[in-house]
C-alpha cells in the first residue's frame, strides 16, 4: 500500500565550527546539545531522519534558523553533511563523485529558490532552457522544450522578457519552469513563495497544486508558514533547533502534536479544513435513526452545512463503504471552536 521510498536520509548531521568531522568522532557521532554548546560548535542539522516516498509532497516546516534550509541543501548535496547516510533511489548520495553528481542533477533533480535565482542576463526562455544548455542540448530542441514549460506555468507571450521586467510571482513561475525543464523525479522547493505578497502566494500555491496534479513529482517543499504546510503537504516534518520534532500528516499533527512547540503552531489552524470526519467521529454505530451516510474522507468543513441542517446524526463510512462511526452537530461545533477532543 505504501509507496516506495525515493529519498532516504538517516542520522544526518551538519555541524559548523572548527574540524566538525573530528568533533563528531569524539562524541561517537551523537553529541548532545550541551556538548555542541560546550565545544562552540553550531549544530545546524542534528540527527535528521526523513523518508520521502515516491510521488508525495513532503513539507519541511520550521522557523528561521531551525535548519530546514540547511537540511534541504544536505539532501540535494549543495552542501556536504557532516555525518549520516543519504540514499537516493538506493544509491549512496554522499559517496557520489563530482561527475556523478553533475549527472544526477542534470537528469533527476530540480530546485526552486526563495529569491528566484534567475540569471539576469538571460530572457525567460533562455533562463528556462538553461539546464538544457549546460547539458549541451542543441538550441532548437531546448527552445522547443523550454517553450512548453513556459506555457505550462502560464507565461506564454513573455518568452523574450528579461527577469527584471517581470513581477515577483512571474519570476517565480520562470524559476519553476526552469526547475522542471529537465523532467526531474525529485523536486526541491526552498521557500518558493515566501518572497511573494500574500495574495500572489495563494495563487501560486494553487498553481503548484495544479502542476503536481499533472506531473506527480516527488517533492521536498520547505516553508516557514504552517498554513502553507497544512495546505500543500501530504506529510510534514516540523523542525526546531536543527532537530526534527515530529513527522506526520497534517491531521495527525493537529490531533496528536508531539510537544507544546508543535501544538502552538496547530492552535490557530482552521481545523475544520484539515480534519476528516473519520478522525473526529464517535466510534461505533449503535442502532438508531440516522440522517444519512457520509464518506469518512470528507473534511469537516465540506460536511458542516449538511450535519448542522439535520436534526439527527449521520453515519460515517470508511474507505470500504462500511459504517464505522457517527457524527452529530455537537462534534462539529467542538471541532470548529477548537475544543480539545477527547
Amino acid at each position: 500500500m505504501q509507496r516506495p521510498v525515493k529519498l532516504d536520509c538517516r542520522g544526518v548531521w551538519k555541524v559548523y565550527g572548527p574540524n566538525p568531522a573530528e568533533f563528531m568522532q569524539a562524541y561517537d557521532g551523537a553529541p548532545s546539545d550541551s556538548d555542541l554548546t560546550h565545544a562552540g560548535m553550531i549544530g545546524a542539522v542534528r540527527d535528521a531522519n526523513v523518508q520521502i516516498r515516491d510521488g508525495e509532497i513532503f513539507v519541511i516546516m520550521g522557523l528561521s534558523g531551525s535548519g530546514k534550509s540547511t537540511l534541504v541543501r544536505c539532501l540535494s548535496r549543495l552542501i556536504d553533511a557532516t555525518a549520516g547516510q543519504i540514499n537516493f533511489e538506493d544509491n549512496d548520495l554522499l559517496a557520489m563523485s563530482e561527475k556523478e553528481l553533475i549527472d544526477l542533477r542534470r537528469t533527476k533533480m530540480g530546485m526552486v529558490f526563495q529569491q528566484f535565482a534567475l540569471l539576469p542576463h538571460l530572457t525567460v526562455l533562455q533562463n528556462t532552457a538553461f539546464p538544457l544548455d549546460v547539458q549541451g542540448v542543441d538550441r532548437k530542441t531546448r527552445e522547443v522544450r523550454a517553450r512548453e514549460m513556459v506555457e505550462l506555468v502560464g507565461l506564454q507571450g513573455r518568452e523574450d522578457y528579461f527577469p527584471r521586467q517581470l513581477s515577483g510571482g512571474q519570476q517565480q513561475r520562470v524559476g519553476i519552469a526552469r526547475s522542471l525543464v529537465t523532467e526531474p523525479d525529485l523536486w526541491f522547493l526552498d521557500e518558493p513563495f515566501s518572497a511573494l505578497d500574500p495574495l500572489i502566494r495563494r495563487e501560486m500555491q494553487d498553481e503548484f497544486l495544479r502542476l503536481q496534479a499533472l506531473l506527480h513529482k516527488t517533492i521536498v517543499f520547505i516553508t516557514h508558514d504552517f498554513d502553507e504546510a497544512i495546505r500543500l503537504a501530504d506529510r510534514i516534518a516540523v523542525m526546531k533547533d536543527g532537530r526534527i520534532v515530529q513527522t506526520a500528516t497534517p491531521e495527525e499533527l493537529i490531533l496528536n502534536p508531539a510537544d507544546e512547540y508543535v501544538e502552538e503552531f496547530t492552535r490557530h489552524i482552521p481545523r475544520a479544513k484539515v480534519m476528516r470526519l473519520i478522525s473526529v467521529m464517535t466510534k461505533g454505530v449503535p442502532e438508531g435513526d440516522y440522517a444519512g451516510d457520509l464518506d469518512g474522507d470528507l473534511s469537516v468543513e465540506t460536511a458542516v452545512d449538511q450535519i448542522e441542517a439535520a436534526d439527527k446524526p449521520f453515519r460515517v463510512l470508511d474507505e470500504a463503504g462500511k459504517p464505522v462511526g457517527t457524527i452529530n452537530a455537537q462534534t462539529v461545533i467542538d471541532v470548529l471552536i477548537g475544543r480539545r477532543l477527547t
Binding site: D103, R106, M111, Q115, F116, L119, V134
Partner: protein, 666 residues
C-alpha cells in the same frame, strides 16, 4: 566652564596633549640641537642609515645581468615577455596609423595602408550608437573629429594603439587574479598587500626597474601602464564575484554546471555590469598613465605634452593636453555606456546573420570600402594637412596677456597663501624631531586602531627615517596636508550642498566628472603657466586633482541619511540649519571620513607628479632616481610614499569604522 569640561574629556585630552607636545618639540627642536650640540635630534644619524637602496640596485643589476633559471636566463625571459606584448601592439599601431610594410628604413615597401581616419571615426560613432544613443555617438564623433582637425591625429592614434593593447591585457590579467582570489582565500590574503602597494607606490618608482627589464620603448610603457591600471580591476572582479547571491550559484549547481560552465555561464555574465565598471577604471587609469609612460618611451600625445612642458611651450602643451582630455572624455563616456547598457530590445530570432546585424554590416562595408579606395587614392588616408587648425599661438598669447595684466594679483594670492598658511605648516612639520615623530604616529595609530596598527605605523615611520628620508617625508606630509585641508574646505561644503539640492547636484556632478576624467598630468599645465614652479603651484594642482572624492563622498553621505531620521527631525521641529548640523552631518561622518581617505590617496599620488614643478619632497627624490636611473633610490623613496599612504589609510579607515559602529550602521 563648558570649555574646560569639553577639553578634559579623556579622548580629547589625549589628542590635545599629543598635538601640544608635538608643537612644542617642533618649535624648539632646533634650539635644543644647538644648545646640546646633538645633531641627531633633527637629523637621522648618517652612520645608522641602512644601505638598502644600494642593495636593491645591486640585486636589480644581478637580476638583469646574471640571473638564470637554468634553461634560460632572466634576460631571455623578459625578452620573451616583451615580444609577446610588442607583436600585437605593432599590429594595432600599423592598422591605425602607420600601415603595414616590409623592409627597413629607406627600403621599406608598404604592403597595405592603415585604416583611414574616416573609417576609424565611423567605427567609434557606430560603437557609441550601439552602446547608447545618437547623442553619445555625436559626442564621440566630435571628439575624434577634433583630434583630426587640430592636427593631433597621428599622436592620438599612437596613444590609442597603446590603450587598445594595455586595456585588454590589464582587464584579462585583473579578471584572472580576481577569479583566483575569489576561489581561494589564501590567494586573496596574499594579493591584498600587494595590491595595496601597487596602488600606493608612485608610478615613477617602478619606471626605473621596468626600464632595466624591458628597455626604453613602447613595451616598457605598456608594462608600466598595466601595473598601474590593473589593481582596481582585480578588486572590482573579486568583490563582484563574491557578491553573486548564493542562490544563483546553487541554481547553477542544481542545473548541473561544471566548474567551467559555472564561471562562464553563471558568474561572469551575472557580474558583467560591475565588471564593466572595472573596465572603465582600467581605461581611465591607462589614459592617466599616457604622459608618464611617455617618459619611458610611449610616444604619442603624452610625449607631445612632456616635450612641450620641458620646452615651456605653453601652446603646444595645452593643445596636446586638450587632445588627451578629449580622448579621455570620449572613451570614458563610451565605456560607461557599455557598462550601463541593458538589452531591452527583444532578440530577433529567425533572421539571417546579415539581417540580424544591419549595423555591423553597414559599418563593415564602409570600413572595407574606404580601405579599398585608400589603396587607389592615398590622400584619403589621412586628414588633409592644409585643413588643420592650430590654437597653439592663441594659448601662448593669452597666457602672455594674463601674465602681463594680472601678474600682481596672482602674485598677491600666492604670497598670501604662502605666508599665512603654507610656510607655518611647513615649519611645524619639518621641525618635528624624527624620534618624537615616530612615537607620535605610533601613539595615534594605537589609539585609533589598537596595538597592531600602532606597531605597523611605527615600523613604517622608522623605515622612512632610517633611510634618511625623514625630512623629505615631512615635506610630503605638509604639502599633502595643506592640499587636503583646502580640498576639504572647498569640497565638503560643495558636496553637502549638492547632496541637498538636485539642481546643484547635476551641475556639480558634471563638473566633478570632468575633473576626474582628466589625466593627472594635465592639471600641471595651467597651474605652471599662472603661478610658475614651486610649492604653491604644486598645491593648486593637487587640490584640483583631489577635490572630487571630497565632494562625492560628502554628497553621498548626505543623500544616504535615512529618510526616517529626517522625518524624525522635522517632527521634532528642527530648522533646516539644525537638521544639517544635528542630524545629517553626524550621520554622514563615516562617509565624510572615507572621502577624506580618498582625498589623501589622490593627493599623494598627484604630489609625486608635482615633483616636476619643483617641490622638494619624496616625489622629487623619486624623480631624481628616475633621471639617474637609480633603481634602489627610486624604490625606497616610492615605498616611503606608499607607507605614508598606508598609515593614513589605515588610521582613517579605523576611524570611519569606529564611527560607523557608533551610529549602528556597520
Amino acid at each position: 566652564m563648558r570649555v574646560v569640561r569639553y577639553i578634559t574629556q579623556p579622548t580629547r585630552m589625549f589628542w590635545l596633549g599629543l598635538l601640544l607636545i608635538t608643537w612644542v618639540l617642533s618649535s624648539y627642536s632646533f634650539s635644543l640641537y644647538k644648545a646640546l650640540g646633538a645633531r641627531w635630534i633633527i637629523k637621522f644619524p648618517k652612520k645608522w642609515e641602512m644601505p638598502l637602496a644600494d642593495t636593491i640596485s645591486e640585486a636589480m643589476k644581478w637580476l638583469v645581468e646574471d640571473a638564470s633559471f637554468g634553461l634560460f636566463t632572466f634576460r631571455e625571459f623578459t625578452r620573451f615577455i616583451s615580444s609577446i606584448i610588442e607583436w600585437p601592439y605593432q599590429v594595432v599601431r600599423s592598422s591605425l596609423i602607420e600601415g603595414f610594410s616590409t623592409g627597413q628604413g629607406q627600403q621599406a615597401v608598404e604592403i597595405a595602408p592603415a585604416l583611414s581616419w574616416i573609417a576609424i571615426i565611423v567605427v567609434l560613432v557606430a560603437l557609441a550608437r550601439y552602446a547608447k544613443d545618437w547623442r553619445l555617438a555625436s559626442l564621440v564623433g566630435l571628439c575624434f573629429l577634433y583630434l583630426a582637425v587640430f592636427g593631433q591625429w597621428e599622436s592620438a592614434m599612437i596613444t590609442l594603439a597603446s590603450i587598445l593593447i594595455a586595456v585588454p591585457l590589464g582587464v584579462a590579467g585583473g579578471l584572472t587574479l580576481g577569479i583566483l582570489s575569489y576561489r581561494s582565500a589564501l590567494v586573496e590574503r596574499l594579493l591584498r598587500p600587494i595590491l595595496d602597494l601597487m596602488q600606493t607606490v608612485p608610478v615613477f618608482a617602478y619606471l626605473v626597474p621596468i626600464l632595466f627589464l624591458f628597455g626604453f620603448g613602447p613595451v616598457s610603457a605598456l608594462v608600466a601602464t598595466m601595473i598601474y591600471a590593473m589593481p582596481p580591476m582585480v578588486r572590482v572582479s573579486t568583490v563582484a564575484l563574491q557578491t553573486v547571491p548564493a542562490e544563483v550559484i546553487e541554481a547553477g549547481t542544481m542545473a548541473g554546471c561544471t566548474q567551467h560552465q559555472m564561471l562562464w555561464k553563471v558568474l561572469i555574465p551575472t557580474t558583467m555590469p560591475t565588471l564593466m565598471v572595472g573596465v572603465n577604471q582600467v581605461i581611465m587609469l591607462s589614459l592617466n598613465m599616457v604622459i608618464i609612460a611617455s617618459m619611458i618611451g610611449a610616444g604619442g600625445l603624452g610625449y607631445d605634452v612632456l616635450t612641450s612642458l620641458r620646452r615651456l611651450d605653453i601652446g603646444g602643451g595645452v593643445e596636446a593636453g586638450m587632445a588627451i582630455v578629449v580622448m579621455a572624455i570620449a572613451l570614458d563616456r563610451l565605456s560607461q555606456a557599455f557598462a550601463k547598457k541593458t538589452q531591452d530590445d527583444l532578440p530577433k530570432s529567425g533572421l539571417s546573420f546579415v539581417r540580424r546585424h544591419p549595423w555591423l554590416m553597414t559599418v563593415g562595408m564602409i570600413v572595407v570600402g574606404l580601405w579599398l579606395v585608400g589603396l587607389l587614392v592615398p590622400s584619403l588616408q589621412s586628414y588633409p594637412e592644409g585643413a588643420t587648425l592650430t590654437t597653439s599661438t592663441f594659448w601662448t598669447e593669452t597666457m602672455k596677456w594674463i601674465n602681463v595684466n594680472f601678474f600682481d594679483i596672482f602674485e598677491a594670492i600666492k604670497t598670501f597663501f604662502l605666508t599665512y598658511l603654507m610656510i607655518p605648516i611647513k615649519r611645524f612639520f619639518v621641525g618635528i624631531p624624527w624620534v618624537w615623530g615616530i612615537i607620535a604616529i605610533s601613539l595615534a595609530a594605537w589609539r585609533v586602531g589598537g596595538w597592531k596598527l600602532g606597531l605597523m605605523a611605527g615600523f613604517m615611520a622608522l623605515f622612512i627615517a632610517s633611510n634618511g628620508l625623514w625630512g623629505k617625508a615631512m615635506i610630503t606630509v605638509y604639502l599633502c596636508g595643506v592640499s587636503v585641508l583646502i580640498a576639504s574646505v572647498i569640497g565638503i561644503p560643495l558636496g553637502v550642498w549638492a547632496g541637498q539640492n538636485e539642481r546643484v547636484n547635476t551641475v556639480v556632478g558634471a563638473f566633478i566628472d570632468t575633473l576626474q576624467t582628466l589625466p593627472s598630468f594635465v592639471y600641471l599645465i595651467p597651474v605652471i603657466m599662472l603661478f610658475r614652479v614651486g610649492d604653491f603651484s604644486a598645491m593648486i594642482a593637487v587640490v584640483l586633482y583631489a577635490l572630487a572624492p571630497a565632494v562625492r563622498y560628502a554628497a553621498h553621505g548626505i543623500r544616504e541619511v535615512p529618510s526616517q531620521m529626517i522625518e524624525a527631525g522635522k517632527v521634532s521641529g528642527c530648522t533646516s540649519w539644525q537638521m544639517l548640523w544635528r542630524i545629517k552631518l553626524p550621520m554622514a561622518t563615516p562617509s565624510l571620513l572615507l572621502g577624506l581617505n580618498q582625498t589623501i590617496m589622490l593627493a599623494l599620488s598627484m604630489l609625486v607628479i608635482t615633483a616636476l614643478v619643483g617641490t622638494r619632497d619624496l616625489g622629487q627624490e623619486v624623480y631624481i632616481a628616475l633621471t639617474k636611473a637609480n633603481t634602489g633610490r627610486g624604490v625606497i623613496a616610492g615605498l616611503s610614499v606608499a607607507f605614508i599612504a598606508i598609515i593614513a589609510d589605515r588610521i582613517i579607515s579605523a576611524m570611519a569604522q569606529a564611527s560607523r559602529e557608533r551610529l549602528g550602521l556597520k
